[in-house]
Amino acid sequence: MPETLVFYVLSGVAIATSALVIGQRNPMYSVLLLVASFGALAGLYIQLDAPFVAVAQIIIYAGAVMVLFLFVVMLLNAPREDAAEWDRTHPLRQPAFARFGGLLALVLVLQLAWALLSATGVDAPVASRAGSEVVGSVRALGRTLFTDYVFAFEATSILILVAMVGAVVLARREGDQS
């Protein structure tokens, strides 16, 4: 089935590129790989009949946010992590911390596995329930967004305004009064 094949290819790409993002020492490659991961996720959103989310993902995430990251990587001329220094100074190199961290990682994995295994009804294909045919409609989505969620929407605009002003204030040089 082509649909299943597309799902496995897209999720494989998303997982592989995300794993490479955290496997890189060079932040430049990390940012570019994350763009690929977001592209694969946008494909998954299209499969889930959420075309508007997919487009927003590409435009806002892969476009705006990642370009912001690239700007900062280039602006700071961010250095590669030094492998020798990583080996020497990383907290996880200390046996006690490594054991504690391994324990916490095990707890996280067990919790995620438990949550997935104990969930019921996840074997049914998505969109098999009655009434789930209309989800892809952008018109109905926009109507819901601007009626039921209009307060949250307006609050988001305030949040973005505050974040913009905050970013300008934080990145300003100290003593620069202009």
Partner: protein
């Protein structure tokens, strides 16, 4: 059609990768990228659940997550720039002023 559980498994794997990245990498920018991976993993499960339940709420929450992530990236990167000016380093171990 793909079962809902498969989307949730992909989402869980992505979340675990993001969490591992925060702890393994010693670079503030890569740590912020790992947080973005985690946010995206949660977005995927929101959209999958919304599709399963036939409601828009999953997609709408995803928009708000994307908006908050954009704001977080702007403020976080401004803080990274400010920290880099002080210490000339992106290693989180270099910023220990608040450490007891």
């Amino acid at each position: 059609m793909i079962p809902l559980g498969h989307y949730l498994i992909v989402s869980a794997i992505l979340f675990a990768i993001g969490a591992a990245g925060v702890f393994l990498r010693r670079n503030l920018i890569t740590i912020l990228l790992s947080i973005e991976i985690m946010l995206n993993a949660v977005n995927l499960s929101f959209v999958a659940f919304g599709r399963q339940l036939g409601s828009f709420d999953g997609q709408i929450i995803t928009f708000f997550v994307i908006a908050v992530a954009a704001a977080e990236a702007a403020v976080g990167l401004a803080i990274v720039i400010g920290l880099y000016r002080h210490r000339e380093s992106l290693n989180p171990d270099a910023f220990t002023l608040l450490k007891w």
